[in-house]
Subunit: 480 residues, 2 copies
């Protein structure tokens, strides 16, 4: 073991950049990290790779993960394996394989995809959308085919304002609306504006959507992880955090816990924002999809001068459309489209197509149909879970399209790995926790089970495999 350790060196764990599990199971991520190390030149041609057992120990994963990754890279021509000797990086590996056919090849497309955050892509209204794009392409004026308005197509901004007032209880005028490419683009623009205004730190929910943290950091601000409990964001902790006057929060349906910000906390948060003259970035993540409870209006409607409401079509139509919006307090809107801190507007043709989609009533119809579809699928999923995993607690199922399974006596990471072997992709709650120790929520053994992009027919099979994976891991744990 000591010899192995020496050959591996302590560097491997940090040398390989393994992304969070949204990038696929561990063996896929390891494959990708090793491949990148080769193509970037950090792993030189001819270098010997550590023995699989040694690297597995260093990365604290099973040996299978490493052998699987090595085998894949041998198959791709990056590595060569000779019996009786170490696996090595092939000469000219980078040069010979960087070419075209391989672009995008490492996207794992599992048979059962239970990752959260992806809507039902099969329900994308292809024909209706193509009709709207055709009408837009045909009827846009010549001028409108030129450089687009930085804040977005005026008629779309009007439609969105009226939609947000009507559907989300927001208090918005058209002048406050900026069309962007999605929630992360909106957060990026707001963070750049905050930075230009002297902010240095932005609070984010912990656990929370990892990309939000990364976006805050990419804008040059420090994300400050702030814990979430069963009532939502801990506003008392936020209040005690120095130098923070901005926060990103998902009041309607926190990701990934599924918690709704309680009325008391909403009031507290609005008070805080007014007191510090700060900005709440309200991620209106899947607020459209509620099943068992009353709709939750946007926090923006309560404190319109201190809340920027963010929304997008990524969860309601498809992430392929790349359209979103920011309804910001007026003093921030100019910065959201400025040359210094703003961004580029989405294609005008798509903006016009979506305007038509909303004004024709198609969007409302699509949302209603989606809500029914997800509710039916969720009920089906709950039924199968009750049958296959009797006694298993479930939480966060009242809205959105994922739920949580807190496991007992069973490590969630092992279940995720085991499920991946059965072609099932899912995530752990702890994948969405900030790595910094900030007094956040304690470590859990909880699975996040998404059902947005799962066909109805696949529900029983997915649950069966998941139940097998859990049983397998439990048996293994008992076997030790």
């Amino acid at each position: 073991m000591t010899a192995d350790r020496e050959r591996t060196g302590p560097a491997w764990g940090t040398f390989l950049e393994l992304e969070p599990s949204a990038g696929g199971p561990l063996h896929t991520r390891l494959t990708r990290a090793l491949r990148t190390a080769v193509t970037s030149g950090r792993l030189a041609a001819g270098s010997a790779l550590p023995a699989s057992r040694a690297l597995a120990a260093d990365l604290r994963c099973s040996r299978w993960v490493v052998t699987e990754a090595y085998a894949q890279l041998v198959a791709e021509g990056y590595f060569e394996a000779r019996s009786g000797s170490a696996t090595r990086v092939r000469a000219h590996a980078g040069a010979s394989v960087r070419g075209d056919a391989r672009a995008g090849e490492d996207r794992w497309t599992p048979r059962f995809d239970l990752l959260p955050g992806v809507p039902d892509l099969r329900a994308f209204p292809r024909k209706r959308w193509a009709d709207m794009v055709r009408a837009a392409t045909t009827e846009l004026t010549w001028d409108e085919l030129g450089y687009p308005d930085a804040a977005g197509l005026p008629r779309l901004r009007r439609q969105l304002a009226s939609y947000l007032v009507r559907g989300r209880g927001a208090r918005v005028e058209t002048g406050q609306l900026v069309v962007c490419a999605g929630t992360l683009d909106g957060v990026m623009r707001l963070c750049r504006a905050l930075r230009a205004a002297g902010h240095t730190r932005v609070a984010v929910e912990d656990p929370g959507w990892t990309q939000l943290r990364l976006t805050v950091a990419a804008a040059g601000l420090t994300p400050v992880a702030t814990p979430v409990d069963e009532h939502g964001l801990r506003v008392d902790v936020l209040r005690g955090t120095p130098d923070v006057r901005a926060v990103i929060v998902a009041p309607a349906h926190q990701f990934p816990t599924g918690v709704v910000l309680s009325p008391a906390r909403r009031a507290e948060l609005a008070d805080w924002a007014r007191e510090v003259d700060g900005l709440v970035m309200e991620d209106d993540y899947d607020a459209e999809f509620r099943y068992d409870r009353h709709p939750v209006g946007a926090l923006q409607g309560v404190a319109p001068d201190h809340v920027a409401l963010l929304g997008s079509l990524s969860k309601t139509l498809s992430p392929a459309v790349r359209l979103g919006w920011i309804a910001a307090p007026e003093r921030w809107t100019a910065a959201l489209t400025s040359k210094d801190t703003g961004g580029t507007p989405p294609p005008v043709i798509d903006q016009d197509a979506f305007t038509r989609f909303v004004s024709s009533g198609s969007y409302d119809r699509h949302l209603r149909a989606s809500r029914l579809r997800y509710k039916r699928r969720r009920d089906h999923l709950l039924h199968e879970l009750a049958a296959r995993l009797p006694g298993q607690a479930v939480s966060g199922a009242a809205a959105g399209f994922h739920l949580l399974l807190p496991l007992k006596d069973c490590p969630a990471d092992a279940v995720v790995e085991e499920a991946a072997r059965a072609d099932v992709r899912l995530a752990r709650l702890d994948d969405y926790r900030a790595t910094e120790a900030t007094g956040g929520t304690p470590a859990t053994s909880t699975l996040v089970v998404g059902y947005g992009n799962l066909t109805d027919q696949a529900v029983p099979g997915a649950v069966q495999r998941l139940a097998h994976a859990i049983a397998h891991v439990r048996a293994g744990a008992r076997g030790h």
Copy 2:
């Protein structure tokens, strides 16, 4: 005059942010600046505006510009004018008018638009594009409707690589290609990557495309204006500039001078990039449209390890499509799509539609037809200019879709203003000069005349009005 000065105060000139003339004639820009001052609260309700003569003196413009702006804002309800008293900001002006109908209203749509950089929007192949979008929307796989590949759709990247090799003499493999939203988005990503790698300054051409300078600054780097002469970028000046290892340059057709980087300078620039181990960002601006000379291959083909080639559809199809690409040296590609320094990819549907547009041969056909159309229009324009402005020198007309008119004994800014009154929009060469004094090109009195988005029928009328404006200004200058 002293009293006026006092009432105006010296602040107005700096208080109002008048954008460069790309934003329309001076009275439109002043209207916008005043309106923004009201809506942002910087000009409080009830405030008295300075007398038109005083403000005109302070802004060094004609009084007509000010009275025109005041009249417009009275009409819009922002200002109120009472006879015998100063024009004032109306009470609640911001609140009552910020609403919807006004969004985007201040875009001036002149009858004759001679601003450079806009292609012939009337030639946008609406039907063909709508067909491609329909095919894409119908045939994309379910998976492809999910979160898009950060580097772009793999088959589009393959198409673009082969197109750039074939059409631009580039040396590119698919792995080096990143699909982005356009040239500025590409420059922004490259600049963020440069900044992350420790760069602090980026050289830009002077005169040059203003947006490039702004984008460099928005990425947190200092743009360093570097002069351009009749052989293109002054590489000797670049070489003498400390702490600069990156430059943005348009070798095929410099904007706005129209100069082609000479073979000697190309070699010098490639040598410089290798010596400092730097990065040349090659803006392949309208390289597709050459009329009287041999095609100029991309500089990237000469020094592929130190040149990132940038292109977009904004000049060849329409800025409304918002699609572009970066072919970068391999060590930069990861940063262009990373969560920290990258950006979001354009909509997958549009990426797939453009893939089809290229692979069906439609793009090549569209480029050929455009080249012929622009050449015919240029010839027509040159003919009209020779007839209406005999003896007037013309330069930069061998490629692209704008040309330069160096004026003698006639201030270009006055001509731009006078032409605006006749509903003709055009720009001055000096609008594109960096404001910093960096030993750049000396001040000129040169007009930039774009003909991309001018109908063929409008050519005689536009030239007639322009000739009148020049004659009017010359007569006024002699009258003094």
